[in-house]
């Protein structure tokens, strides 16, 4: 029978070396995907995920057993991602990518494929995500994090509010604002294309 999160945390604190491995296995998918979907590049994911779990281990003694471990790990992941983003901006490691005309043409072509119900290849899906990532890049850091947690990782509003240390209402606003912004940017691209064609 699988041990609960609380039992695993107590076991790690008691010196059980296998218990931490179990915690990593349980939450590695969440951590990897949040980092990948938030940072948008595969290169940094493994290093950052390792950093997240090292932080988790070092801070485990301070973990409040009354709260869920998932939200706590999500919080550490979010902070690590935000730090990485700030560091990148400061050191200009990855310049902030924005949509250019070629990207807009690709979005239009994907949209037509989607309307014609044509199937997309794995490469198409990956490319679509890159375009979505660029649209998400226009959001502010915290809106983007709330959006990733809710829309891409499927966390509940309660879990996100614990992870981002704010109220559920604030998270709902952030997610809704992000969706509206992305949808309106998509509309600008796709409707301007239509208008240009009809003109």
């Amino acid at each position: 029978m699988a041990r609960t999160d609380e039992e695993l945390v107590r076991a790690v604190l008691g010196g059980d070396s296998h218990a931490f491995e179990e915690i990593v296995k349980r939450y590695q998918r969440l951590v990897f995907n949040v980092i990948y979907h938030y940072c948008g590049t595969r290169n940094v994911v493994e290093d950052l995920a390792q950093e997240v779990f090292l932080k988790v281990f070092r801070a485990l003694a301070t973990f409040d057993m009354r709260g869920p471990l998932k939200s706590w790990i999500a919080r550490i992941t979010a902070n690590t991602c935000l730090d990485e983003l700030r560091r990148n901006r400061r050191e200009k490691v990855f310049p902030v990518a924005d949509l250019h005309s070629g990207d807009e043409n690709r979005i239009e072509s994907f949209f037509e494929q989607f309307e014609e119900r044509a199937s997309l290849t794995e490469k198409d899906v990956s490319e679509l995500f890159e375009l979505l990532e660029k649209l998400m890049g226009r959001l502010n850091d915290k809106d983007r994090m709330a959006f990733v947690f809710r829309e891409l990782e499927g966390l509940s509003y309660a879990e996100i509010s614990q992870a981002m240390k704010t109220t559920e209402g604030a998270i709902r606003i952030r997610v809704s604002r992000s969706k509206s912004k992305i949808r309106s940017d998509l509309e600008d691209i796709l409707l301007s294309g239509r208008r240009a064609v009809s003109d």
């Binding site: 990593v24 989607f114 995500f129 992305i182």
Partner: protein, 141 residues
């Protein structure tokens, strides 16, 4: 409600009354389509492959990190063993060297710490007595 209904057969071909509504309907349809496209994008985000043995590697790293202080202490102690062994030898040698000059050193220390400063008596009677002594010393017996 049914009284206000206008059947399509009653509309003229050049009736433009519903064009705006038709346009707005087209726009709504298009916007709906965009919303579905966005939903499709969100449902089809690629996932990250987790490298094999990631959990095991992190677990080992974490425990090596925890043990690193103990290991560092052990390494330093191991390096310090010859120093600890040499310490009594060096101290013994130093004591031996100091012991060679021990007499002089002890006297000097005694002079410094135990001898009281000499109080010189420069009274008139003392000076006269001294002069008397000198004069008697000069006399040849």
């Amino acid at each position: 409600m049914t009284d206000n209904y206008t059947g399509s057969q009653e509309l003229d071909a050049d009736d433009t009354g519903n064009v705006d509504r038709k346009d707005s309907s087209e726009l709504s349809k298009h916007k709906n389509s965009i919303t579905r496209f966005l939903r499709f994008q969100l449902q089809n985000v690629p996932e990250m492959d987790i490298p094999p043995f990631f959990a095991k590697r992190v677990s080992q790293l974490v425990h090596s990190d925890r043990d690193s202080f103990a290991i560092l202490f052990q390494q330093v102690s191991r390096k310090l063993i010859p120093v600890f062994m040499m310490f009594p030898l060096v101290m013994g040698l130093l004591m031996y060297l100091v012991a060679d000059d021990g007499v002089v050193a002890t006297e000097q220390y005694a002079d410094l710490f135990f001898d009281q400063p000499v109080q010189e008596d420069l009274s008139v009677a003392y000076v006269i007595d001294s002069l008397v002594e000198f004069s008697s010393e000069d006399t040849v017996p």
